[in-house]
Symmetry: C2
Subunit: 127 residues, 2 copies
């Protein structure tokens, strides 16, 4: 599913720009952390955030990641939110915080609202 030529963009801790659809059908997009396990892309958010509310209502999303050293090189992944999972321990938040080098002190402050957004890719484009 992910082209071999662009897998490094998922392996490296690069910010992904996650596009979602709002309740009124208009798009929103912002930079997020992500991690790819070969089958799913995962994102962390909280249940009070727009991103979460958007994907619950409209499960189709798209993600754009470009190469900071060669910004024309990019990978777009379109996909569907397969499920969201609570992250009450903050363990998944911690996986991403570690991956992206964020220094913070456990426990995760908003762990009671933390969720994992699990996305199944359906199509990619790249350049």
């Amino acid at each position: 599913m992910i082209p071999e030529s662009h897998k490094d963009l998922l392996d490296r801790p690069l910010f992904a720009h996650l596009a979602t659809i709002g309740p009124d059908g208009t798009p929103a997009v912002n930079p997020v952390w992500t991690v790819w396990d070969g089958e799913f892309l995962r994102f962390t958010t909280t249940t009070n955030r727009r991103k979460y509310k958007n994907v619950v209502e409209h499960p189709h999303v798209a993600v754009s990641i470009n190469d900071p050293e060669k910004p024309y090189r990019y990978l777009e992944i379109r996909g569907v939110v397969e499920r969201t999972e609570p992250d009450p321990s903050g363990d998944f938040f911690d996986v991403l915080a570690t991956r992206y080098g964020l220094a913070y002190e456990r426990p995760v402050g908003d762990a009671d609202r933390r969720v994992v957004i699990v996305v199944k890719p359906t199509r990619t484009t790249s350049q």
Copy 2:
């Protein structure tokens, strides 16, 4: 409309991640060149590209730009495509190519299909 604190993200030639809505209502997003004149964001594309077809059908778009040096710092602009304009001379393509330091030889190869997408911001979020 654009917060003073984040104007530099539009002044610098940073890639913007432009989210559009496809004919089936699902989002697409990819990195693009842009330029801001204080009132409109402008993008270049061609009439045979998905991006163009998407915005003709669904004029709502969203744009995410983050700071390469501080990737948590970002600006999201949501807006509406006010109009698209032909760019038969490729002059607008040239403005962006120059801004982003692309070396190419005029004339612009696909100038007959080149268009300018003109977006009026309606809302911003930033961090």
